[in-house]
Amino acid sequence: MRLLLAALLLGLAACQRQPPPRAVDVPAAGLQLRVPAGWQADSSPGSLFFALPTEQGQLIGRSFFLVASDPMRPQPSGRPASLDSYVRYKEEQGRAQARAYRVVHSERLALDGVEAELREIELSGQMEPRRSLAALLVRGHEGLLLVGSAPVDDFPRLRRDFEAVIRSLRWQAPAH
């Protein structure tokens, strides 16, 4: 009982040290995310949003979270490409670029009402193996990728934050 109480107090203390996530707008993608307060906003060529995860104020090396987009060709019917075709397209790209590529887990979920594919992927990076948690979705004629990536050893510590950021997505304008 005493142990349980101590654990509860420690847990509460830990919670108090964690400031709440902060909201960040990603106007180029028409969305808002909530990211851990300590993460450092940064930039990277082409990315619509780019942030570096931290732990106790220190950057977790080689790790990042980004939002990027892919222009999608409409289908012959004129309809936007489907989520299935975008998922296939991204997987083909990944397999073509990485020497090793493995889908560890995949599931469908709704991000503020829009269907998305959540995928955990392991791949050979240029310098070391990486694991990524990615959400893929289609809005109009654009494929959207939200991905948190980290070296395999660091990924388990970051996975929960990556997923929380992805699930925090809120659209700022109605889907077109």
């Binding site: 090396g61 892919d70 083909e92 310098m127 990536s149």
Partner: protein
Amino acid sequence: MFKRLLIATALVLAGCQGGSDEIGSGGGSSGGVVRFIVLGDSGAPPESGDVAKIVEKVCAQRGCDFAVGAGDNIYDQGADSVDDPIFQSAFEEPYKNLDFPFFMALGNHDNSNSPLGGGGTNERGDHEVAYTAKSSKWTMPSRYYTQGWPRGSSKPVVELFVLDSSPITHFFNDLNPAWNGANLETYIAEQKTDMQAALAASKATWKFALAHHPYVSNGMHGNAGNYEGGAQPDLCALAGLISPSCRGADYKVFLEQTICDKVDVFFNGHDHELYWLKPVAACGKTHHILSGAASKHRGIQDEARNEAFYQVGDTHGFFWVELRGNRFTGAAYRVGAGGIATDVDDKGEPKPAFEMSFTK
């Protein structure tokens, strides 16, 4: 159990020997002194062979532990496969008398499928990575990588941070989906964070970056952020139509976020002259040595664009570098047609056209 312990101890000791400061190869440098050659844009025989003749003489005189290749290793459009005979003609044959590792970076021509060298076919660069397994000298373990020297040392004299600059600067969009859109942006983000982390973790006395594309240059291609600004024809005039990254603005920011002020010297090529340019404020303490004349040459376009310790155009050539404790010495050698040293001493041996040292 005891046998296993013995084997493990032997393996550890063998590993320690690999990290010794004694460097024996290629000219007898030792005692923590490291010497190497800086070649760039070397992929056009037979001129590369002419330059190699003087490299051989300089290495015999002054010592060389390794060479670095600053990209455009194979003109005009890289290799068709890992078995392409062009690796023999463009690399193995010219450097057959040099017995040390060549740490190579990718250039735009290595990632192209036309003589224009537009850099829009990045998958071709992967053949040069794969060739590492087939050559005793060519070393490019991945498209970007780090390399310490002495090899295996936990506190090397020097660590090279070799960048893959072409995907950030190409002026032809890569039509391969694997190198386009979100995939390309993720690749660049990986490279950026990998390099930031590797630089932060490095215990090397000297830290050098190596990439094909320069941060500053007084040549035709010019400074990152304004590439091709004065070139005729200016292919970047079509930017937006063929590529948004042509001027190198993204690359400039990338360098400022990664290697600027973190490395002592940034070695590169792309322009076909020899430059040792002074540090510029936006890139901190970093010196800029451009060695892009190992098989091609061109004239300086604007010698006042960036302040130089040394600059020369219209000649083939290369740099030789020595690291002795906290002292860096760089020497520029010019090479004339047929592999004749332009500058010679009383004995007719090559002497540097320029030599300078600085300490840190």
